[in-house]
């Protein structure tokens, strides 16, 4: 494809350049990241995406974004905990990934990030399962679930505080493990830095890491793995 052709696939709004090449290059269209955008901008971008493909996913959608999108797209599914708005294709197609994306959380407070990951993984056409509140301070809660862990195709582990859970999970399974540090904690957690550093230094080989609270990114990576 030449640069002239390329230019035709970019839709230039005053405040955004929508890249309709993404389904080709990335396997899925752009996702609307609401942080720092006005509700009007978010709706305008969602309209272009829905027009092009009949679906969109918005993440980090605060109340005003959610309300504006819900008003404009009555069929869209709003997940307040995970701060997502998802307009599924109609009808919604079957998952295409090879296996299941398992989302594991260390504690109750990590659920918003886990929900963002789960909704994203579904929107990217993966089967999704969840395992909740199995942090390492009560290690047997996790060990009784070893079978579930081993049957997943990819595991996303969401944890704040000391971020130890991915190391333990990584040592129990052969499949790829994606660690998501969360900003859950206080004091010397420094907004998730403690968990992030712990995960980067994991003694379990084969654990990779995404940004703090980045449930979306973990799911996008998991989906790439599940669709390879």
């Amino acid at each position: 494809m030449k640069f002239d052709d390329l230019e035709r696939v970019f839709e230039r709004l005053p405040f955004a350049t929508i890249d309709h090449l993404r389904p080709l290059t990335q396997g899925h269209q752009e996702v609307v990241f609401c942080l720092g955008k006005t509700a009007e901008q978010v709706v305008a971008i969602a309209e272009r995406l829905a027009a092009a493909s009949g679906t969109f996913l918005a993440t980090r959608a605060e109340a005003e974004h959610r309300e504006a999108l819900a008003a404009r797209f009555p069929r869209a599914e709003v997940n307040a905990l995970g701060r997502t708005v998802y307009l599924p294709p109609d009808p919604e197609p079957a998952p295409t990934g090879r296996g299941t994306v398992l989302v594991v959380t260390a504690g109750t407070s990590d659920l918003p990030v886990a929900e963002e990951a789960a909704v994203t993984a579904r929107a990217l056409r993966n089967r999704v399962e969840r395992l909740t509140d199995v942090g390492v301070a009560g290690i047997h809660r996790l060990l009784t679930q070893t079978d579930a862990l081993r049957h997943a195709a990819v595991i996303i582990v969401v944890a704040g505080m000391e971020g130890a859970l991915p190391s333990v999970v990584g040592g129990l399974v052969k499949v790829p493990v994606i660690a998501v540090p969360t900003s859950v904690g206080y004091g010397a957690s420094f907004g998730g830095l403690a968990a992030l550093l712990a995960m980067l230094n994991s003694c379990a080989s084969g654990v990779t890491v995404v940004n703090i609270d980045n449930g979306f990114g973990a799911a996008a990576a998991a989906s790439r793995i599940n669709h390879t």
Copy 2:
């Protein structure tokens, strides 16, 4: 398996507890991380691993570790640039992964980390290819290689300084991209911190990150993905 059985699969040396369960739980035996160990300790652990399986991989092997291992295991392959010592099985079996692990480096100074990744990926039974010195300041060096990027099963991107390369690669392909920040740089690179933060904040969805200079970890994760 019960705890009593488990205890039998651990080999307890005075300074190490070798976990012969790893091939079952992780898909491959333990790798010897030489940093902070004496040459004697490294050789002793390598002997146990070689005895159990006819192969071992040692990483972060400084000159004294490399010499001691080479003296004890004449058949071992020493890679001074990547600081690895690898005793391949005899005969070396064919790769078992689904596709190719492509190791991309931003600059010449990133090669030691890339070599560690490449040797590790091979030891974990993956086909490996390399693409060298294609950093973003001369973006066309990368763009002429788009086909190579798209044919890989997993891409490891090794970059120091501003760590921008994984974002560009992540935007060009659908396959999983593992970013390895390196400590290449000076001043405000803070030993690789700049590249690490850049990679964690990548605007390309689906990029995951390992520790600074952790070529081994990137390859271990790539191999998990390639064997799923």
Copy 3:
């Protein structure tokens, strides 16, 4: 000029010392930085500047500053997105710089900082153009604009998250590139630190950097370059 003369050109308010030497030493009068000042202080300083030269520029003007200035100077132009209030000379003179200052933004959320830069550059008598939402995750959005990049006299590149765009732009052009990190991002972006470090470590030679979110400073530097 002797110290005694100098003293006469300083206007001493109880809370500020206005430096009427600036047009001589710096090429333009003082700009009102509203952060940390009361609306009353801001209006009082703007009055002195308008009295001296018929124009002023206020930056980092929050709602209360903007309202107070608009009430006092009905002819002033308020830019809520860029948080600026600009009283243009009447009539507004033609730009005096040698060429065009091009303001490039990586994403929609970077627009407030880009607007501050664009308004400032105009107030300092430069021609200004904009290129929006061309971040590196969809690199072709930028590459189709290479001509626009090469025709500018100075380029200001505004980017948050991983801050990779200035490196790519710097590698495509010969003209000076000023990088502005923004606080757009979350988690390990640490309020723009990730983008700042990335830009300081740019592998593209000839990129210089200003403070996080400092659109004003980037435009002031660009104007110096454009008027040399």
Copy 4:
């Protein structure tokens, strides 16, 4: 005791003020911390302590300190791995603590810090046991040792990298757990900072922390607990 009396119990050397009150206030005499002292200073202080009580303990003793102390005190026990020199009382009295201090290490590279802790605990008259290389990446190595953990009076857990082991141990036992982060690791471990932060954020209640690599401090605290 009045201030005048107090002054008599301080022995003032040109470079140190030895506090012979410590056995009364702290339960044991001063320990010689060699870092930043010359060999001559270390020997001089050790002589005063040996003269007063027939015993001394020196920590952070580098080669030159160790050699000077060994030359002056032939009966002293030198531990090169733990960098300690200990002159036991003659005869060495039985331990006085209520139970056993168990020193647990995550990996082989953590052994120097663990040895410093073990030697210190013995010098402070505690029974000491060791459990080595039971890091969380192979969690079953630890779980098979639950009995040993539960029979200790105090547990010192020494770990570098992600510092996860104290959280798991803390969740398995009722007894006090003292976590010692080590500087083992590289890159984003930042000299032990990652492990330190993880331990401070432990989700296991009742874990307390000492400085990075501070095996001595952990043992001193454990001894206080064991002698309460």
Copy 5:
């Protein structure tokens, strides 16, 4: 106990996995950490704990948590300063620890953290005493209390700003000292970091540290010590 049995002792709610093993493994049941949980989630967990044992303790309870818990459990004791809600057993049993837990605070602003510690220590069945506002800038306020310090079984020292108090206390007594840095301060206190670092570097041997503002953790550790 086998894994199958273990599973029966975990109560799985949609958002939490309650670990009824804790009284066995840890000596006390789970404590409800309210931060990041909704009032509904907190009440639901408290109900399960009260049903199992007739008591619960909730920490970091903000106003909405406190109100919801007080409404549901009229007998519960609300401590607004310490942000705790405690439902004591009926009748409340006598303390079981060997001695007294003394909670010492450097300044008035440290009281909320000290109260969290005191309430927790009581809930874990310890006798508790307090010593308030004895910071080091007026050292004689502390020195007149040496007897109180020496009669405690464990001392918790709560201090913000420069965090010097634990070093002085640690030098005056033989018993275990647990230091709690608080976020009291401003500027270069960096949210308690200054006090935390000071405490980790204490020149008094035998001082251990918990996370910033972690009164709960300090009391849990003190209770382990007091019950050993």
Copy 6:
């Protein structure tokens, strides 16, 4: 004085221990630091101090503290900009220091901290003068004031952003210079950290530094110098 006597000079409230020794040891009575205290606590402490000496100074007094103190002490002087409440002795005695404390500010936004310093210096019985908005970007504003600088007994320099002013002032005079970094700035000022580090690294010998925004501390130090 013996410990028993000492105890009599401490006034123990439930939340504070007032140290009536301070006038003897420190040359002035305690100052009420309001941050983190309730209005009730602040008033109660102020009452004790006023009863003992007919005067008090409260710093970091937020609106609710100021209102409560003004209501209770109608004669007290409230400085909203500097967030102080000062009850002067009646009649107010003459300054006792040897010379003048000069408070220099770099910019208008630094005035609140400068006011805190000026009020404190007066309360500690020093003559006070002010020099405002003489930052280094217009260096001649300062150079025309060299005489004023040289006639002071002590100079307090208050500056945010890059914190360069104390270095320039320190090079122009022989008298002691106390630098106060302020949190004025944004982005990479990191809440005053940039100015703090600059001041600590001042190339002008003889500059000392206090905490960020610590106008009180600067004045207390200046007063000690002025009264020596």
Copy 7:
């Protein structure tokens, strides 16, 4: 130019991809950054560059790099202080920039970075002048040189410690000022971080910043400005 053509202009060595497009895109050929490269790699790259254009510049050349280059290119000019090796074209062409690049240093210890900048600016065909040891602690050393400052086309200001000099220079002139923080200092300079932060927060508008010790980058930016 099409991608196929592009590929022909890249020279692929095993460890480097030389970009012969740079003179077109950047205005000058690649510069050899020696840090992290072996002497053999450096010589090999220099040979390719010299073959293509008769000139090369190597920066961050340690002793072994310098010796290897000097041996291979006897005509090359070695600057040990600035750690550069420069092979000028033969004959060396006249400068092409519009004016003079003035390199100003705060102190003697900043000279290595200033030399790197000066040599680079010359290699990029600029006239270069120097002004040495005019730091702000003796401000009159700078003020007597105002004419020299005002006659430059671009000013590079090199300073360590508190990094205040660029703010003062920026306030005295209209031309572009590029600030280079150096790692000169100790303690809280944190390897140049203090100077870097100060420069980023400069209150003088129009100052831009490069990485710590990056004399090369400052000169490359200055040359871009001087050739616009």
Copy 8:
């Protein structure tokens, strides 16, 4: 004095601009800071200073600096511990300050910094006394010295690790206290950062701080105070 006159008092060497105005502006001539200078540069600067005034002081003099200065100036006094070389005037004049500068150290390892301070204070014509190894872990060592503390005109307190000593000293005396954090410590002392932060957050009013290990700066400030 006019700028033209000023220029005559600066002696311009190729690598330094010696400011012979300093005795007028600062009360003493320039001090040679050796860090980052060659031995030749240091000797050349010392020669100019000795020629002008018959005396010089060099600080941070490493072995090669010390040897070169001692060879050139046989009468100079070398202090290897404090890394100073001092050529006293002949004859050495009596101290001119009003009182005594007391240098207090927390531990033996802090002595090098204390010596730098003591030599500098003497060179600046102050009477100097020392109090050594009186850290807070054995608080009575300090309390027995209260009289010495109270008789000083200025107190310099040198401490590493947790840096608590200045807070205690500041609370015992009325005179100015200058705190010098040292890099003594390990792990979470982060090269003196812990002590620096502690001192900046001192709860004792009137304590000011200089850079880590900056004994020279503390003495320069103390001398200013002592000569006011």
